[in-house]
Assembly symmetry: C2
Homo-oligomer: 341 residues x 2
DNA sequence: CTGAAAGCGCTAACAC
DNA sequence: GTGTTAGCGCTTTCAG
């Protein structure tokens, strides 16, 4: 009898049948052992496991998934991996899914709805148990296919809006307003704003709008605004800050779309010998760990990034029956008042 | 005729048959359109695509994979997502795979071979086109199953050893030696070493061993060594540095297993008013972006993290035939001499 | 506790 | 260019 494993191609992987033959049981028994389903006598179980190990059998979940309509995969789409914010969320997702025996398959949308849409279709082709998407804004096609397939979607990061089924995140509107209140309280009245990713970061835009409204209502003015098309970084923050501060009319305080930009701003001020917060105050968003490495503690809004990932993944891991109508899980942010405001 | 989609369960997804019926073609034609295989007339193609969109059909790659023995998945195992080093590598992997139409499925090994082993079996159950693992050290079971299944494995980060099939990374031995040479050249003779993850970071261990050997050969001495079991962070670096520097016999220079620890060390020195590098020199590893946020530029070894991911993913993406015997792709590191040595 | 039969949704191979 | 047939490797269902 010719061996099936002569050519070492992917085609020649052993199957449950091969294991069954070696173990002297039926293929069905092998299936049960592999899945830990039903009662199998200790003896048989061991025989099967040994046979599997011997011939190098690996459970084939593709076949399993197609036959059982259920496979332990979760599709995850994040805007970028270059930003700690999302890798921390991803870490929470991965840890939690892993505990539940689920695996993340993922893609990066580069902050565009078009890429997200493509990814959603692609990920859906693996018949995942659920999807995790960032933000509440998605293309029509995404909404439609989600509706049509009935796949469960956890939308993360943002809660200011209506989720497709469930969302886990913070209120950016509230965060923007809180920071504005804090700065007004401190006596600042003329403000600058620095952002990046030119409008693609919808959460930052929400924060800013709430911030601006609150500032105006509080008698303040927004006198300078700079947005880069580039990704966030300290370098970008530094440049945009320089740009704002060399104008004749300087703001008392600058609100940054995130900590990276804010840290860059601080660097600019320090190297120019500008007094912070005396001459200009600085505020960021996120509360990233590296802030503690800076010579001055930057005022920022602390966000629970890892926890957002955990919450979303926990929901996805739960049996579908546990799914309630529409769930909005608001995690709390906290204003960290540092030495820059 | 009863509709198949009454209950909205995963079982009731439309199939190619349904699309075929709506489009008025055979199921095989739908298959061809979906895969972009063979020649299909423009007309038919559009009909099929419209029908698919209309009924919300999504290509089922589980079924495709099982029938075709080929599916665009790549298993990726990283030690952690809490460390920028690996998320940057992951970013390179993701970007590159995405371009090649492949998807990463991933797991986190927490720096242990046992977890890695479990993950490898788990990921293999999706019949991935390849695997990307960190480091050259793996359990016997991993080596065996890789051998038995014939799956292609790209080992990343390290090249000081024999890869199973291909490896992409830097020489940690060389990096350790280079840093030792630099410090000796600067005149330092008594050294401290600070690490974390207590021996689980095998690459750091390789650097340290090369470093220590070189130091001894150059007439230097290693007089203090501190290792934490915790994950790397500035806080850990700060504590261990304090610990070393409050001993009666203080080293001239401290080599840190990575930049986070080194930055923590710098913070300690600054807050104690210790002159760096006058009283103690500091050197890290990786060249992470946040170093430029620090008041003093830390001497470190720059590593091409994103590029390692790109190189590994590119290799995995290439057709298997292109696979040569054993490939070692050494990417270059660069000693960045800052203001701390 | 274990086995036999049927079929999951798709693609390879070949026909027309 | 498009259709037909025969499975891919597994799980479901039902027997025993």
């Amino acid at each position: 009898m010719a061996t099936r494993r002569s050519s070492k191609s992917r085609k020649d992987q052993p199957t449950m049948h091969d294991v069954a033959r070696v173990a002297g049981v039926s293929q069905m028994t092998v299936s049960r052992v592999m899945r830990g389903a039903g009662y199998i006598s200790r003896n048989v179980r061991e025989q099967v496991n040994n046979a599997a190990r011997e011939i190098g059998y690996v459970h084939n979940r593709l076949a399993g998934g197609i036959a059982a309509y259920d496979n332990p995969l979760v599709g995850v789409v994040v805007p970028t991996l270059q930003n700690r914010v999302f890798t921390e969320v991803l870490s929470g997702i991965s840890d939690t899914l892993s505990t539940a025996g689920l695996r993340p398959v993922f893609g990066v949308s580069e902050y565009t709805q078009e890429a997200e849409e493509e990814l959603v279709f692609d990920l859906l082709s693996w018949r995942p148990r659920g999807l995790i998407l960032a933000g509440l804004e998605h293309s029509e096609a995404v909404r439609r296919i989600v509706e049509q397939t009935g796949v469960r979607v956890a939308e993360i990061m943002d809660i200011d809006g209506e989720p497709m089924s469930a969302c886990f995140g913070v209120s950016h509107t509230e965060a923007g307003r809180d920071m504005a209140s804090h700065l007004l309280e401190r006596g600042y009245r003329s403000f600058g704003y620095v952002a990046s990713q030119a409008g693609h970061d919808l959460r930052a835009t929400k924060r800013f709008e709430a911030f601006a409204t609150c500032i105006r209502e509080g008698g303040g003015q927004l006198i300078a605004q700079r947005t880069s098309t580039e990704a966030s970084s300290m370098v970008v923050g530094r440049h945009l800050t320089q740009d704002i501060l060399t104008q004749p009319d300087r703001p008392d305080a600058i609100y940054y779309a995130n900590d990276d930009l804010a840290a860059g701003g601080l660097m600019h001020c320090m190297s120019e010998g500008l007094d912070v917060p005396g001459e200009v105050a600085i505020a960021g968003f996120n509360g990233l760990g590296f802030l503690s490495a800076l010579p001055l503690k930057i005022t920022t809004t602390q966000t629970p990034r890892y926890e957002i990932g955990v919450a979303a993944a926990t929901w996805i891991s739960a049996p579908p029956e546990a799914q309630t109508e529409k769930l909005t899980d608001k995690l709390e942010t906290k204003l960290h008042i540092g030495e820059t405001t």
